[in-house]
């Protein structure tokens, strides 16, 4: 066996140009598929990170109530005492069940309003944050102007820079906000621009931040009430398990009602993207108290993940097509090799080498060429990804959502590399199999005469 390996390895180097051409063709396929796999892996990771930052957490709990006139109102009135569990409410008890998994717990309210300054107006997601009770929030923002507001600044407004530019508003200016209450009534808030910040992702999804208690007043939820509870987990992979525990503990909508039309925006953006305040249809059963909806970062990522899976499949198909074309070359090459080495085969057979061993030498040689091409392709792919990841792209575009600090990142799943190598090896062996079998079947007497 070792001898066959040695012969096969030596044969690989006998026609260096031919081997280099074959390995080069294979390496091109490996380069393409590896870079594509790395790209989808990196983008997927960046989107997940951006969404986690944008929405704020890994598990999101929202609550809905019905008014007497059957309006569906988005509000959570249960207390989650100071962010800790055990407050005695259904929500606090449910959160207590998964307390060990929670790294951070935030209360938020969120609405789509219109910010107005003079004759200019922009539609903007406005997010209420308890930045006194959530001391890590303000320092996490990347300021581009102004200063972080103090705890006493009740009507302070922190605005994404692009929104401030469109409004042509400066720090210290008074900005009006036209918002709807949770039942859809019109209301107006007066804010003072305290600071501008960098976009947190796609411009359209970037939030302006205000104090939770002031926003609660504007959207007409009570003091201490909020709309969303965001959980950051120690291990984001546990998001689905945590959601299952919460769903089991909290009153939720029946399964069939949970499948609703996608609002198109981050979870818990009531009426933000065309939904408006809705009313429970007359033929649907009303409910008492708060009904909760629990979603996770995986739910939000589901559509994107599907897209990346399709991209991976497409890249795999391209890889197989490229390899198949290359393998036609491999078949022809090995047919020529058979003719070139016919006397050699005859000699080996004459000195007692079995047919299987001859076949094995041919197959091993094909395997070596395949592995050489794979190795070369992986090195090229690593170099290409390294160069591409050094490029800094314009961060003032929606592309930013797919980037990490303006740069492309690549993450190649080891399973994809293993799968690609297995396919490559299988096709190489398959391509060499017929010439190898033919070589093995040549009688020694015929081979020694120099004809196959």
């Amino acid at each position: 066996m070792l001898g066959q390996l040695r012969i096969a390895f030596r044969n690989t180097g006998r026609q260096k140009k031919r081997t280099a051409l074959l390995a080069g063709a294979i390496s091109f396929g490996v380069l393409v598929v590896t870079v594509l796999n790395g790209f989808t892996g990196g983008v997927s990771r960046n989107i997940e990170r951006a969404l986690t930052d944008l929405i704020g957490g890994h598990v999101y709990i929202s609550g809905t109530e019905l008014t007497e006139s059957r309006l569906i109102v988005n509000v959570i009135r249960d207390s989650v005492a100071d962010g800790s569990a055990g407050g005695g409410s259904a929500l606090a008890d449910a959160v207590a069940e998964v307390e060990g998994q929670i790294a951070e717990l935030n209360r938020r309210s969120r609405t789509l309003g219109t910010l107005i300054f003079g004759s200019k107006q922009v539609n903007q997601i406005i997010e209420g944050v308890d930045w006194v009770g959530e001391p890590g929030f303000l320092p996490s923002l990347s300021l581009t102007g102004g200063a972080l507001p103090g705890p006493e600044a009740r009507n302070a407004l922190i605005l994404p820079e692009s929104a401030a530019d469109r409004l042509r508003v400066a720090v210290g200016d008074q900005v009006l906000a036209r918002v709807a209450t949770v039942t859809g009534q019109q209301n107006v808030g007066e804010f003072v621009l305290a600071a501008t910040i960098e976009e947190s992702g796609i411009t359209a999804f970037s939030s302006a931040f205000v104090r939770l208690d002031y926003l609660a007043e504007l959207i007409d939820t009570g003091a201490g009430e909020f709309q969303l509870l965001h959980l950051y987990l120690h291990d984001p992979r546990q998001a689905d398990r945590v959601a299952e525990v919460l769903r089991a503990r909290l009153p939720t909508a029946p399964e069939e009602e949970r499948v609703q039309e996608d609002a198109g925006g981050p979870p818990g953006t009531p009426g933000a993207f065309g939904g408006g305040v809705s009313r429970l249809p007359a033929d649907e059963e009303p409910w008492d108290g708060t009904r909760y909806e629990i979603t996770t970062i995986d739910d939000v990522m589901a559509q994107a993940s599907d897209l990346f899976r399709v991209l991976d499949i497409v890249s795999l198909v391209v890889f197989v097509i490229l390899l198949t074309i290359t393998m036609v070359g491999v078949v022809n090459t090995f047919r020529m090799v058979l003719l070139e080495r016919i006397r050699e085969i005859g000699t080996m057979r004459a000195v007692g080498m079995q047919r299987g061993a001859v076949r094995a030498i041919f197959l091993m040689e094909a395997g070596f060429i395949g592995l050489l091409g794979a190795l070369f392709g992986l090195v090229l792919a690593a170099a290409a990804m390294l160069i591409l990841s050094r490029l800094t792209l314009d961060t003032d575009t929606p592309l930013q959502f797919f980037l990490d600090a303006g740069r492309l990142t690549f993450a190649v799943p080891p399973l994809s590399v293993a799968t690609n190598l297995a396919i490559l090896l299988a096709l190489s062996l398959l391509a060499a199999f017929i010439p190898a079998r033919r070589a093995a079947r040549v009688p020694p007497s015929v081979a020694l005469r120099g004809s196959a």
Partner: protein
């Protein structure tokens, strides 16, 4: 037969000179009910062509033409956009408490609310249905005053539920005829958001409807919308008009 019964263009606050006297002997709820009765068609239907001219200092002037069908007994209306071409076929179908918006591009209906803005103008969807002042509001104060040459009651109204767009309203109502000439629409924090003028009315069938409405945005400088109604009719409308199928058919 359409008969114009009142005209007034009241665009400046200088025309207003309220005489600020309490009118405690007025039955406010009866007055509100009378306004509702006049503005409601009862068992008659209503058809009109709406022309909306929206002025925005940033966006410029936009003109929208729509056909309106209304049936107050069923709390139903349908507004189909005719012009501009890019919005042609869009529809607002009200069926009782539900209001649907139809997008001909996606061929889908989506739920919307009477409280939302109509086509990004200063009008609200609720401005196109019947009025229910007596049901939706209660008066905090009532004063006698004048608005231009008209003797009016000035009503300070507060919503009785969260079903209306504006929680607070100030209305100038003619003492004779009970026509609403002007309203100021206030937010929940009692900030003036919109001033509405109704300078022109017409009798259509058994109802009296404003044929010109001007909505001035009090938050965005220089933004306003003027709505004119023409081709008014109280003729019966087929039941099939107030259905989703009709809206879809109208787009074929």
């Amino acid at each position: 037969m359409i008969r114009r019964c009142a005209t007034a263009l009241l665009m400046t606050a200088g025309l207003l000179s309220a005489t600020a006297s309490w009118a405690a002997d007025i039955d406010v709820q009866a007055l509100l009910a009378e306004i509702d009765r006049q503005r409601t068609f009862g068992d008659q239907d209503f058809t009109a062509v709406l022309t909306l001219v929206s002025e925005d200092p940033e966006e410029g002037v936009e003109r929208t033409v729509a056909q309106q069908f209304r049936r107050d007994t069923d709390d139903a209306f349908l507004i189909l956009i005719r012009d501009p071409a890019v919005q042609r076929g869009q529809g607002y179908l009200r069926q009782g408490d539900n209001l649907w918006f139809y997008d001909p591009d996606s061929r889908k209906f989506s739920h919307t609310s009477l409280k939302e803005a109509f086509q990004d103008t200063d009008a609200r969807n609720s401005d196109f249905g019947d009025v229910k002042y007596a049901e939706d509001y209660t008066a905090r104060t009532i004063e006698e005053g004048t608005l231009g040459k008209y003797a009016v009651y000035v009503l300070d109204l507060q919503a009785t539920s969260d079903e209306v767009t504006y929680p607070f309203l100030k209305a100038w109502v003619t003492r004779e005829g009970g026509l609403v000439l002007k309203t100021e629409d206030y937010s929940l924090t009692e900030r003036l958001m919109r001033t509405s003028y109704y300078p022109r009315y017409a009798r259509v069938g058994s109802a009296v409807v404003p044929t010109e409405m001007i909505f001035v945005d009090e938050l965005v400088e220089g933004k306003k919308t003027r709505i004119s109604m023409t081709d008014l009719s109280a003729a019966a409308i087929p039941d099939s008009v107030f259905t989703k199928a009709y809206v879809e058919r109208a787009n074929r």
